[in-house]
Symmetry: C2
Subunit: 393 residues, 2 copies
């Protein structure tokens, strides 16, 4: 018999995917340029030419046996060294290759991190609003994910609720800053308080509570916003990175797990990831992509469009009277809907060819997410539709 | 605490990896060209120039947003269509895109196939000699792998032992033809008998027994050898393919799962794979690699070297009096060691700078594997060492 667990999962069709499919279908009717599709977190600017040039040069010049040969299960040693060196240079922690594990982007990094530091039955906490895929990521390991209710005033952390939920069963906490869907960047004060609580509770429980920090938006931070390096605040941090967003490279599935050198068993955790790969069929990201990334560690795509779009939308939404925390990074904004039912609001938005994702799936009903990784010209054209939608609520 | 299960796995260091490390270290002493390293199944011929040209052209000409954008979780639709069409054209089964799931090579294909058609506690059978990684692949899902003892006379299938072990608990059977480590290709007679037994037992048990067919060596078959298409024999077949071996592309991690269109729930199984990916952090192979493969479905690397090497080694080993089944494909040969203890034999071989893998890890103690994906010139130079080794036993 086929596995009922996965068969059942087919019923829970992703709301974002449904909205995206609606946008595509509607686009066929009225032209996709007339659909204000804010559904998907797909980068809207191309990969830097330097990255393309690196790939072409590797393909033209490097011995194909070496270029396309098996990578060791932890990643190509020279790539791990360069990633470590870049992290040390930029953030000051003494990473070495031994603390770096190359992964098929952030999903695989989180998948390995969870299996390394939790066991089935453990609890993992995250903070609403959160990326809805965290549920299968965590629950697929046999651990259980619980989301701490949001701090709606600022989308930092609701520490009272967190401390209540932080029982002895919790062995890992999963955070995402800059945050999808709120766009908010956790402040130093937030990270310091979080670290203090984790340290205190690790001692009280007699076991470490690991911090798994999902940072695919780390490089997409807007002017004047402080983006503290999470791993500097708490030793037992496993950082998950992806080149999907800031390098506009999502299809190539490349990222890494970087375990804080001060983390308990840091080097062993990385070695263990090689064993976890054997059980889940991971086996390294593409070797061409590993070698390409290693030569482009200090650049991003031209991500200025996201800040431009943030400025336009934040100004418009607040001027329309919507409650909205100003995003400090990413390409998301997460306003409060002008109707109590954000699913109904998302449905209503379709009437104006606006594709908005209700906050329910992120653990924040009553809010909605706009992914503004689209052309600025389209953002500007959408303002009239937004005004009409709000007026109609 | 870190997960003891994976920490414990670190103790069981791969014998093949240890031998390969020895070969590298010994190479530093005497020159790697003087080490007859038969340890690793790494292709020894380059990827076809046409594949490199496709990648360069895609990088130069295709819109980078589209080229490197997110692939749907089941794979890029046009790629799935082309893979299906090529299978239909070559093997006559009416595959459509709906039966194809693009994967990070065979490891990921097997990983998804197992999770789709088994549940924790189930038993999965395979046949010795078998690839040792099957143990973590299967056991990592919560099912249990058991290896049916080898048919030592031919390295086809020991059906008596199989029928004894084929209890109601078994929900999947995992085969590998052409076979690593024996090089043997299952005959039509073998596959027909296997299918008959599976059909009979599926009926008797009242549940389907799925056949998971791991076929990374499908294209590496020598002259005069019949290589039947496994899926044609049994409806409930899930075929796992990888471009690692025949296209010399192992580092790029690209392959697919093709579910026989006649398989019960074929299309649903593929859809379920998208859900399985969410739990294990898979998320598609590289989009560049998917698009590249789709344009090179009918070619392989120049794999003639493997047949040349097979001829030289088979002739030499048999003329030395070793018992040896002639490989019909792959780049492996699996002779009986001239000492009862094949681990001791492998140790002894090191004295002659011969790196041979004992059969124990493949479920066949007393035998040894030679991976002859090395230059023919080196194979020829190794013959003297082989003669000396055999004489010394």
């Amino acid at each position: 018999m086929i596995a009922k667990h996965y068969e059942d999962m087919l019923q829970g069709k992703s709301v974002i995917r449904q909205l995206s499919e609606f946008a595509t279908a509607r686009g066929k009717e009225i032209g996709y340029e007339n659909v204000f599709d804010y559904s998907l977190g797909n980068p809207s600017v191309p990969v830097p030419q330097a990255v393309t040039d690196t790939m072409i040069r590797l393909l033209q010049e490097k011995d194909p046996m070496e270029l396309h040969g098996y990578s060791p299960s932890l990643g190509i040693p020279s790539v791990r060294e360069k990633v470590a060196a870049s992290l040390e240079k930029r953030f000051g922690l003494p990473y070495t290759a031994d603390e770096i594990f190359m992964t098929s982007a952030a999903a695989a990094a989180i998948s390995h991190a969870l299996r390394a530091v939790t066991i089935p039955g453990d609890e993992v906490l995250t903070f609403a609003p959160c990326f809805s895929e965290y549920y299968p990521y965590v629950n697929g390991t046999g651990a259980h994910l619980k989301a701490v209710p949001a701090d709606l005033a600022s989308f930092q952390i609701n520490f009272n609720a967190f401390e209540e939920m932080l029982t002895e069963k919790v062995t890992a906490v999963l955070i995402n800053t800059p945050n999808n869907p709120s766009g908010v960047v956790y402040s130093s004060a937030t990270l310091k308080t979080l670290a203090d609580i984790l340290t205190k509770k690790s001692e009280a429980f007699g076991h470490p509570i690991y911090l798994i920090s999902d940072e695919p938006y780390r490089e997409i931070v807007f002017k004047g916003v402080e983006a503290p390096f999470v791993s500097s605040f708490y030793d037992n941090t496993l950082m998950c990175y992806s080149y999907s967003k800031a390098l506009s490279f999502p299809g190539e599935r490349i990222g890494y797990l970087a375990v804080n050198p001060a983390c308990k068993d840091a080097k062993k955790i990385v070695q263990m990831c090689g064993q976890i790969s054997r059980e889940i069929g991971h086996n390294c990201p593409s070797s061409l992509m590993q070698l390409t990334i290693a030569e482009n560690l200090y650049i991003t795509s031209d991500i200025s469009v996201y800040e431009t779009n943030r400025n336009i939308l934040y100004k418009e939404l607040t001027s329309l009277g919507l409650t909205c925390t100003e995003p400090g990074g990413t390409f998301y904004i997460f306003p409060k809907a002008p109707m109590a039912d954000s699913k109904a609001f998302s449905e209503k938005a379709k009437e104006f060819d606006l594709i908005l994702v209700p906050g329910d799936g992120f653990g924040c009903p009553g809010y909605f997410r706009m992914a503004y990784c689209i052309d600025t010209e389209k953002v500007e054209r959408s303002l009239d539709a937004i005004r009409k939608l709000v007026a109609a609520c």
